[in-house]
C-alpha cells in the first residue's frame, strides 16, 4: 500500500462481500458448502495475516488459538449443554485471554526465536488436548450434532446443519474479519504495525512502544483465529485434535503466502485457491500433494508477493 485510499478500499471490500453473499444463490450444492468452509478458514487466515503480513511476526502456533476457540466452544456445548451463542461468547473471551498471555511471553523474543516459541506453545496446546481426554476425547474428538440446539432468533429458529444458515453464518464471520482487518490497516495503529514490520528499531526511535503494539496485534490475530475456530466447531459440528496439530498452524501460512502476505484480501484468495487445488487434484490422483506442491513452487517463482501482492504491485497500488 503506497497510498491510502479509504474510499476505494471500502468500495472494493463491499463489492467482494456483496459478491460472496450473492454467490450462494447460484452455487450448486457442493460448491455452496465448500464456500462456507472456505470463508471460515479464510477468517482464520485473516487473523494470521494481521500478525505475519502487517506486523512482520511469523507464528507457527496459530492452531493453538484456533483450537482454543474450537475446544472451548465445543466443550461448552458438549459437556455443559450451552447453546451456540453463549458457547461462542465464552470461546471468544477465553481466546482473548489466551492470546494476550501467550503474546506477553512469546513477544519477549523476535525473529526465529519467536517462531520456535510459538511452535512450542502450539505443541503444548496440542499435547494438552490429548492429555485432558476426559474433556476433549483425545485424538478422535467429538461431534456436536446431537447436543447443539438450533439458534433461536425471535420467533424463528435456525438449525446449524442447514446449508443456507451455514453459508450466511460463515459469510457474516468473514465479513466481520475482513472489515476489522481493513479498518485496522487504514488506521494510525495499522500504520505503526506496518512500521514495525518494516523497521522495528526505527519505530522505537520515533517514540513508539513497539512491544505494546505487537501485543495488540497478536491478541487481535489470536482472537480472530479463535473466533474462526469457535464458528468452525458450531457450523461443522466437529471438534478434533487435527485442528490443534502443527500442520493446521502451517496451513494459514500457506494460504496467506499464496494469496498475498500483507494484503487484506490475500487470505481469502489463497484459502480458496488452495482448497480447490487440493479438491481437484485429490479427485484425480492419490499423489495430489506432489502436484499441489509443484504448483505452489511455480506460483512462488512467478509471484513471490502472492496473487494479491502481485495485483497491488502491478495495477492497484492503493490496495491495503
Amino acid at each position: 500500500m503506497n497510498r491510502r485510499a479509504p474510499r476505494k478500499t471500502a468500495m472494493l471490500m463491499a463489492g467482494v462481500l456483496v459478491f460472496l453473499f450473492l454467490l450462494q444463490f447460484i452455487l450448486p450444492a457442493y460448491h455452496h458448502s465448500t464456500f462456507s468452509k472456505i470463508m471460515v478458514l479464510a477468517s482464520y487466515a485473516v487473523g494470521f495475516n494481521i500478525l505475519l503480513g502487517y506486523t512482520g511476526l511469523m507464528s507457527l502456533g496459530h492452531a493453538m488459538f484456533f483450537s482454543t476457540g474450537m475446544y472451548v466452544t465445543g466443550i461448552c456445548v458438549y459437556h455443559f449443554g450451552l447453546t451456540g451463542i453463549p458457547a461462542l461468547g465464552i470461546g471468544l473471551i477465553i481466546t482473548v485471554f489466551v492470546s494476550m498471555l501467550i503474546g506477553a511471553v512469546a513477544l519477549r523474543t523476535s525473529g526465529v526465536s519467536f517462531l520456535i516459541v510459538t511452535l512450542m506453545f502450539g505443541q503444548t496446546a496440542f499435547l494438552s488436548v490429548l492429555y485432558f481426554d476426559q474433556f476433549t476425547l483425545g485424538q478422535d474428538g467429538f461431534t456436536l450434532t446431537k447436543e447443539l440446539q438450533p439458534l433461536v432468533l425471535g420467533s424463528t429458529s435456525f438449525s446449524y446443519t442447514d446449508p443456507n444458515f451455514k453459508y450466511n453464518a460463515a459469510w457474516l464471520l468473514f465479513a466481520v474479519c475482513l472489515i476489522l482487518s481493513n479498518l485496522l490497516i487504514l488506521s494510525p495503529i495499522g500504520r505503526v504495525l506496518i512500521a514495525i514490520r518494516e523497521n522495528e528499531e526505527r519505530t522505537q526511535m520515533l517514540g513508539y512502544n513497539t512491544y505494546l503494539y505487537k501485543l495488540f496485534a497478536l491478541t487481535l490475530s489470536g482472537t480472530l483465529s479463535g473466533l474462526a475456530g469457535s464458528v468452525h466447531a458450531l457450523l461443522f459440528s466437529y471438534v478434533g485434535a487435527t485442528f490443534a496439530e502443527i500442520h493446521h498452524s502451517i496451513a494459514p501460512l500457506l494460504w496467506t503466502l499464496l494469496g498475498g502476505v500483507g494484503t487484506t484480501l490475500g487470505p481469502l484468495v489463497g484459502t480458496g485457491i488452495m482448497h480447490y487445488l487440493i479438491d481437484f487434484t485429490s479427485g484425480w490422483t492419490s499423489a495430489y500433494l506432489l502436484i499441489v506442491g509443484a504448483i505452489l513452487v511455480l506460483l512462488v517463482i512467478g509471484a513471490p508477493q502472492g496473487l494479491m501482492g502481485m495485483i497491488r504491485q502491478k495495477w492497484m497500488q492503493w490496495l491495503p
Partner: protein, 285 residues
C-alpha cells in the same frame, strides 16, 4: 545565550560512561547543552561520539552516570520514552522505512505527537496530512510525497531522515553525521535548514566535515578516547577554503587555516578549569 540558560541547561550528563566488555567507549562525560544552541561534537573515528549520542537517545543504556533533561532524571528511560520526552535522534546510517512512501515515513513521526495531544484516540488523517505536507515543504521536498523512500537519491534520504526527526517535534535534535555522503550543493541547503531549525530547538551535531561544523556550531565539543577533551568556540572560516571538504581525524586541533573569532559573546560558556588549548590562545592573539 545568557547566564540563566547556562545555569539551567536543557540537557546535563554527569559522569556518563559506557563500556562494552573491556572496551571503554564513553568515560565520565559531563556535557551541558543549553536551550536553543547548536553544539557540534567532533573527534576522530572511534572516539565515542556515536556511543555518547546513543546513550542520550536511549539506543544504549549507560553503564554509569546520569542524564537529566530539564532537570529531570531520564537516565533509565527506554528509547521510546526518551523520544516522547523530546530527544530525537536521526541515524548516522540512514534508517528509513525504505519500502514505504515519504508520506508514510513522515506520517509515522507526526501521528505519535497527535496521539498524545488527543488522548487515546488517534488524530484524523486530514490533520496528519496537513502536518506531513508542512514538514516535507520545510525540508524542501514537497513533490516527493508518494515516492518510495528507498528509491530516493541519497541526499533526499538524509533530508527525509531529518524530516522525520522534525516531525517528532523534538526539544533536542541529535544529528549523527548528517552531511556524510552529500554533494556540496546539498550540504549548503542542509546547513540552511539546520540554522532555520535552531530557532525552535536545540541541535546536537556529530560531524566530520569541519566546514559544516564551523558554519553551524555555537560551541564545539572535542571527544577523543571516550572522553571529552575540551569545549571550544568555533573559529569562523573565511570564504577561502572550499566547502564540502572533509577533515577526518582532526579531533585534537580542528583549526582550519585563516580562521578567526566571530562570536565573542560565547566566551562565558567556556568550561572553567579546562586547560587552555593552543586553539584558544591563538584566538586571543
Amino acid at each position: 545565550m545568557d547566564a540563566m540558560a547556562a545555569m539551567n541547561p536543557l540537557l546535563k550528563t554527569q559522569n556518563l560512561s559506557k563500556h562494552f566488555g573491556g572496551l571503554q567507549a564513553v568515560e565520565g562525560v559531563n556535557l551541558d547543552l543549553n536551550e536553543g544552541e547548536i553544539r557540534a561534537i567532533i573527534g576522530p573515528n572511534g572516539a565515542g561520539k556515536t556511543t555518547l549520542v546513543s546513550l542520550l537517545s536511549g539506543r544504549l543504556r549507560p553503564s554509569s552516570g546520569s542524564i537529566h533533561l530539564n532537570q529531570k532524571d531520564i537516565t533509565s528511560y527506554s528509547a521510546s520514552r526518551k523520544v516522547q520526552s523530546g530527544i530525537v535522534y536521526t541515524f548516522q546510517v540512514t534508517s528509513l522505512f525504505s519500502n514505504l512512501s515519504c508520506y508514510e515515513n513522515v506520517a509515522l513521526a507526526v501521528q505519535r505527537i497527535k496521539d498524545r495531544e488527543d488522548g487515546i484516540w488517534p488524530r484524523r488523517e486530514s490533520d496528519i496530512r496537513i502536518n506531513v505536507r508542512r514538514i516535507l515543504e520545510q525540508v524542501g521536498m514537497p513533490e516527493n510525497e508518494d515516492v518510495i523512500a528507498g528509491n530516493l537519491p541519497y541526499g533526499h534520504q538524509r533530508l527525509l531522515e531529518v524530516a522525520m526527526g522534525l516531525a517528532a517535534s523534538p526539544q533536542l535534535l541529535i544529528l549523527d553525521e548528517p552531511t556524510q555522503g552529500l554533494a556540496e550543493s546539498e550540504i549548503n541547503h542542509f546547513c540552511g535548514l539546520i540554522r532555520e531549525l535552531s530557532d525552535s530547538m536545540t541541535i546536537l551535531l556529530i560531524e566530520h566535515n569541519m566546514q559544516v561544523v564551523l558554519e553551524l556550531a555555537e560551541q564545539i565539543t572535542v571527544m577523543d578516547h571516550a572522553e571529552i577533551r575540551s569545549n571550544q568556540l568555533p573559529l569562523r572560516s573565511g570564504r577561502s577554503s572550499s566547502p564540502g571538504q572533509s577533515a577526518p581525524g582532526t579531533g585534537r586541533n580542528p583549526r582550519p587555516p585563516g580562521t578567526q573569532w566571530s562570536r565573542q559573546d560565547h566566551t562565558a560558556q567556556m568550561p572553567d578549569g579546562s586547560p587552555s588549548s593552543g586553539f584558544r590562545k591563538d584566538c586571543h592573539e
